[in-house]
Point group: C2
Chain length 356, copies 2
């Protein structure tokens, strides 16, 4: 993995983004923002899952008004997502959001962009320039076609407006629904600017395919050292976006926390119901706040089972209807299939408790 | 993306692996191999999903015997996965498998490895050297610890035995359950040998997390030009492994076929039940064999909807309770929410039919 590129740092509420801060996970509600209670319930769910910045669509005056009630009760700093009407941005800032996301190209001309900048500056609110391959300016499309170059040119054009008015509390995203185009756009942009970058593949699709697409696109960029905050974009419940984002950061070694479960794919050699066993372990430990990252291996047979179980902090290596339980490299017992998960969990919980 | 490294080519049955052939998708049954009907049913499901090479565990004589009945009826060339007992490898070759996967380190010494090589050579059967971080030799663990270097050293040691006996129909895998270690091991190995490489992250975990982990690990390697055949390793139904593998290849532009669905994540701006709409489109088109790759955008609102719908081969850009239908960049109609998916599918199917 390449060293992370050090960008300028901005703050979204209390959360630093860029400048060497840990990569921040964000997501976006799919509730109606005007529905205050539903929106807060989803923000709480996102926060519990590990989300650090929330984003809300503000498509109309009702949504902008609702922010006055949402912001004070929100567990997360909030970004207001605005298109077409700059007054919604002004209202959102007045109602206390921690950041704006606008696409200056569709906000109605430079005078209106300047009004938004003035309001943001006064309240110390950063702005994301959110360029999206699906909404490029016509002249850029005519000149470049729907390419990474067009996306980056659009971002630079918008950034120039902010620079003209001396506003540098900016982060940028240049998303496309194509992995190759997304990666190319961020690589190009990263060479040209040192603003912090919000990275994601847009409109990635449904849970499984969208997670794979996001993991590849975001993973390739983070591995190149590009990206200060990430958003996984999945059709459906945004809590899944946070689960996938956390997994991406963990897999790349950019975040070390909680419990990592190593489990084999099962095969004709497996002589226990491993899938059930892994699900039980995942359910019990998935949200455990361990004092330090721990690895738990749940393995189906004698081929790789003992090796993985020994290497992990805790491990089960199953055989026919029973398995060996490992703790920090040592076998500490042999248990029947139906008892071994409980024994594993007892050990882990006792160790955690002893340390508290 | 870097150019693909050109390795030597081997053949698993009729499927070329390496030497510039398209990256091959493989998976592994989790049925009992001795259960001939269940094993064949799963092989058929894997084949329908797009799997190109199947693998079966052969843990005992009963499984090895069953191969005589499975091989002639299998829709896929089969790899027999053998550990500990070299006679199972001999029997599997005699029963017609297209390849073997062994870990020579646990097969019982060089004389037995040679017996397997002789049998494989006679039947023109290639062998995968499958090294796994969970089952490394003790002397290597003592010297290197559980590192990428130890994994690669183990692979080279095994390859040397094959080379000593003049057998070069070999592919190699060097898997770990850690993404970083997996990537490091394949990078190192790829510099040292030109055998085709079977790439995967082992014991990646359950469906969602395991898919993300596999997508990152396999994605990073393929993006570096490393990898001739891939296996996604997920606890559970192996058909999901194939779905994820196809998605990885598609996202990296290594495979262009079928239907790609672009869909937005939904937000407070969405005024239709987009998740339901996308699910209906995915169900209807997921397995469609289009004559060429087609893109279908299903978008929730007026921000990026028209742009993505226009850029795709077919698209829906929804507004409040109704949407515009696009075909090859042109609006061809406006439909109510409950009618628009049917209209989209009619267009696609008519176009496909006209071409046949």
């Amino acid at each position: 993995m390449k060293e992370r590129k050090i960008t300028r740092q901005i703050r979204v509420g209390s959360v630093p983004v860029g400048g060497g801060a840990p990569v921040v996970i964000q997501s976006m509600n799919n509730t109606k923002t005007a529905d205050v209670e539903a929106t807060l319930a989803q923000l709480n769910a996102l926060s519990s899952a590990g989300c650090q910045i929330g984003r809300l669509a503000v498509p109309d005056a009702e949504a902008a008004e609702a922010l006055a009630k949402i912001v004070p009760r929100s567990p997360l700093p909030l970004v207001a997502d605005i298109h077409f009407d700059y007054r919604l941005a002004l209202k959102s800032v007045a109602n206390g959001v921690s950041a704006l996301r606008i696409n200056p190209g569709n906000i109605g001309g430079e005078a209106k962009v300047k009004a938004v900048i003035d309001a943001a500056r006064e309240r110390n609110v950063p702005i994301r320039i959110g360029i999206n391959g699906g909404s490029l300016e016509k002249d850029l499309l005519a000149r470049y076609g729907p390419t990474a170059e067009a996306i980056v040119e659009s971002a630079l054009r918008e950034a120039a407006i902010f620079e003209k008015y001396g506003f540098d509390q900016v982060k940028i995203s240049v998303k496309s629904s194509s992995v190759a185009k997304t990666v190319a756009a961020y690589e190009l942009l990263s060479e040209k600017v040192d603003y912090p970058l919000h990275v994601g593949v847009t409109e990635a699709g449904t849970l499984l395919k969208g997670s794979v697409k996001s993991a590849i696109g975001i993973g390739l960029l983070l591995n190149e050292g590009i990206g200060d905050t990430i958003r996984v974009s999945l059709t459906g419940d945004p809590v899944n976006e946070v689960i996938v984002a956390k997994e991406i950061l963990k897999d790349l070694g950019l975040r070390k926390e909680g419990v990592e479960i190593v489990s084999c794919p099962t095969c004709g050699r497996t002589k226990v119901d491993l899938e059930k066993m892994v699900a039980a372990v995942e359910t019990a430990l998935g949200n455990m706040k361990a004092d330090r990252p721990i690895t738990v291996a749940v393995m189906g047979c004698e081929v790789n089972g003992p090796g993985e179980a020994k290497e992990a902090d805790y491990g089960i290596a199953n055989g026919r209807g029973q398995g060996l339980l490992f703790r920090r490299g040592e076998v500490i017992g042999k248990y029947k299939e139906e008892e071994i998960v409980a024994a594993l969990l007892r050990e882990i919980r006792r160790d955690q408790k002893e340390k508290q």
